[in-house]
Symmetry: C2
Subunit: 211 residues, 2 copies
Amino acid sequence: MAADAAETTDAGGDGGETWADVSPEAARRLLLAAVDAFAERGFHATTTRDIAGRAGMSPAALYIHFRTKEELLYQISRVGHERSVRILTEASEVSEDPAERLASAVRTFVRWHAERHTTARVVQYELNALSPEHHEQIVELRRRTGAVMRGILEDGVAAGRFAVPDVPGTALALLSLCIDVARWFNPDGPRSPEQIGELYADLALRMVGAH
Amino acid sequence: MAADAAETTDAGGDGGETWADVSPEAARRLLLAAVDAFAERGFHATTTRDIAGRAGMSPAALYIHFRTKEELLYQISRVGHERSVRILTEASEVSEDPAERLASAVRTFVRWHAERHTTARVVQYELNALSPEHHEQIVELRRRTGAVMRGILEDGVAAGRFAVPDVPGTALALLSLCIDVARWFNPDGPRSPEQIGELYADLALRMVGAH
């Protein structure tokens, strides 16, 4: 039981920080348990009974907070995407300088995907398990992420600081590079989230021909 | 039945080409069916009965060719990784010029991950479902992929053509960029595999400071 609690508290590798705003406490515990279960076995192989058990609750107690397993996935995806849009937006507003804005956005987005790799994997890989209505809401949040990155590149090009022949394609590639960190990142590997963030910020400036 | 056959024949979006060397025909059909099933529902939620049914066969007939569900996943991962190492290696040998080699490798690897996105997703996302022994074999194939990319960068640096402060990190980022195409690629989207390949080859040359 103590081991279970420690495991769920660390869901997504962020000590539960992503879910700090979720209340009540029981709902937060269920989301943390669902992230772990979906990451380990996939959405379709996970039952609400598995999730309730991981959270130390009964299936009946789960249904007070979430009507279906899909509702849990939707809340994980919504909270995860809203938070990632927010941190990307804030990171891109640190400066007026396009190069500093891009470096800050990439550094921050990479760190988020490394530190929250478990959550990020669930959010990225189980998108097709969402209901059509929920899927559309998440796609809208993803469009906002894309718009933030394109905005940084467009401002850099307009200021004569970046040379980018294909702004939408380059923005897509930059976000893809950051997001895929969640797939291969290993907390026991040789590089820390900060070090990967620094490396990728430099690569991003090269990709946009910053000068 | 006809619809099933069409669906499995198109597994991985490559018309089954990845599996052309697999024989007998029944084993190939089972691998194609397993790729589709794993991609749709995940490894853990798929049963050997599901896979046999998709291939139009009985579960007993499946066991003639594959002892376990994990054996199917292993063969998919092995064939997929061996093929991807081979195409990356061949693409990197088209020329003596480091820039041409890098552009060719990235262009080819991106196209492979776009065209075979279903197979690539299964191979990338279900790695942890492999047995420890099979996992180690696949990790070894992945090391070879990394070595090919690092070799191109090292040769470019040695020839004074690339400026790369961190060769292992940049090689990792380049491969990650190519592989993640499998996650977001949409055959109905605005960009063809060839167009993404061209864009990414240009971005790769920027990332290594080619001149």
